[in-house]
């Protein structure tokens, strides 16, 4: 490509020094590469530092402010009162519910992701490999809201899932499930089962990719050696494949866990009226106007993810990213 670009632009073999401001600038950068480096780094670091890190600090700062219950105005004095509010039973309930959901979603995503990742890593070749890759990439990049909308269509009472189950004479199964406490509800689109399914669907590609990356690095003859030595497929999986894929699974779980912790749109559109952390943050900053409490709430996923990342790092998950 470079050669072509040079050929199409015939120039003397040795270009004359260009002189002028541009020439001396170029010479300056050549003599002082550090200056050039500094100039290159300055815009992105300033942008991210001011816009992003600055905002994060603003957020942290806000969480130490408090709201005046009578006037609804924000009192800009340092206090731990907001964190005290955070520890009310209702709020702890929200945090527990969100973390449980995140753990379940992560677990089930890993189970569904593994066969896809394993097939793509070990058996798919050539055209099939490309097909698998696009088959994971296209849903990953499809519009987030459209994916949720699609599930609203599927899970609606009059939707395709009920229709399918009716055709299979399995409606009793759905009705039985919906009559259960906690997981059930009026219809799937207003139950926590629905929320769970959509979470798994939307974050699944984030699990497949790192697991596949980890499995790509497992040499095929390792699996063959295991079966040559008399291991059953189940034993090979438990003792060879799974331990080698684990860093990939942990890497994927960082995404599924963190994304579930922070999401507020999925449980709002498909699910019950019981809140998740994201929804609590959103309603506190919006309708309630209590930005300090919203800020304190966001500190919860940051702390959880901090511990999670620390644990993941110890398991070597970052090498699989």
């Amino acid at each position: 490509m470079t050669v072509a670009a040079l050929n199409s632009n015939p120039a003397p073999a040795i270009l004359p020094g260009s002189g002028g401001v541009r020439g001396s600038l170029s010479d300056l950068f050549w003599r002082r590469p550090k200056l050039l480096l500094l100039l290159m780094l300055l815009p992105p670091v300033l942008w991210l530092g001011i816009v992003y890190i600055g905002s994060l600090f603003a957020l942290l700062l806000q969480s130490f402010f408090s709201i005046d219950e009578f006037s609804g105005l924000i009192n800009r004095q340092f206090t731990l009162k907001t964190y005290g509010d955070l520890l009310q039973a209702a709020n702890l309930d929200i945090i527990l519910r969100t973390v449980t959901m995140a753990a379940l979603v992560t677990f089930v995503s890993a189970i569904i992701a593994f066969p896809i990742a394993y097939y793509a890593a070990r058996y798919a070749r050539g055209r099939w490999k490309a097909l698998f890759y696009l088959g994971i990439m296209l849903p990953l990049w499809s519009s987030y809201l459209v994916k949720i909308y699609a599930w609203k269509l599927i899970l609606a009472k009059e939707g395709i899932l009920t229709w399918l189950l009716a055709k299979l004479h399995l409606l009793w199964l759905l009705d039985g499930w919906l009559s259960l406490p906690v997981v059930g509800g009026n219809s799937l689109s207003v139950s926590s089962t629905g929320t769970f399914i959509v979470f798994v669907y939307v974050w699944l590609p984030f699990m497949i990719l790192p697991v596949q990356a980890a499995l790509e690095r497992v040499p095929g003859n390792l699996v063959e050696a295991s079966s040559d030595l008399g291991a059953s497929p189940g034993q090979t999986f438990r003792n060879v494949l799974f331990p080698l894929a684990l860093p990939g699974i942990v890497a994927g779980s960082i995404f599924t866990f963190s994304l579930t912790l922070g999401d507020y749109i999925i449980p709002q559109i498909i699910g019950t009226s019981r809140l998740f952390i994201g929804q609590a943050v959103y309603s506190q900053q919006g309708t309630a106007g209590n930005i300090p409490l919203a800020a304190a709430f966001t500190v919860v996923p940051i702390v959880i993810m901090g511990f999670y990342l620390w644990g993941a790092k110890r398991m070597g998950a970052f090498d699989a990213l």
Partner: protein, 271 residues
Amino acid sequence: MRSDGSSSAPLGLKVAAACGLLFLHLPILLIFIYAFTTEERSFVWPPPGLTTQWFAVTWNRPDVWEALSLSVRVAAISTLVALVLGTLCAAAVSRTRFFGRETISLLVILPIALPGIITGIALRSAFSLAEIPFSFWTIVLGHATFCVVVVYNNAVARLRRTSGSMIEASMDLGADGFQTFRHVVLPNIATALLAGGMLAFALSFDEVIVTTFTAGQQQTLPIWMLEELIRPRQRPVTNVVAMVVVLVTLLPILVAYYLTQNGDQIAGSGK
């Protein structure tokens, strides 16, 4: 590794992988069918009839056009900012080793690694502390911040493959720094930048979580859709918009895929 590929997968694995892929794709295909349904009030399946009239209805809706135009403008400007910042950062990180190099990579990745709601509320509280009113530019500020990482990832992967000796050769032949950049570096990384730009555009075009915190009363297309999802007004129009959004976001991904196909860490894995 000799026996790799000669063996074929056990049936159970094939079925599980196929079911997984179907699970990923069928819901999106369903959107395409619903765009043609004659049913207005509910999501009934199977559709009672098929029609194309909702495309015309959607075409004549000014609110859809306004939201679309805002989304496209935001995505275009954010992509431009992300291209400049991401390329600069990638060039600096890949050419030299310096103190704090790892920190820079972390800084770039952080906006996408932390949940969107944190980025969103952080920006919102910064705006409120600094008393900045919501505008077109507050949306761009948020979007550009998390778009930098996709451009950066693509550019870094390509620069790592570009050999440094070519730049030295160019300098030896008398080209100054700017000429080297124009004739040697740029042609080498152009497709990677194009791919990164496409992905950044798709990311920004689709973003809703951060946008709800930085948009105020303005409606981008995803915010328009969110409104429709929470308080449906005209379901068939939503169906059509959903289908169009799928098509608009898929095209850049396919193009980016073909641009970076040979050998690079392929675009998109870094969403």
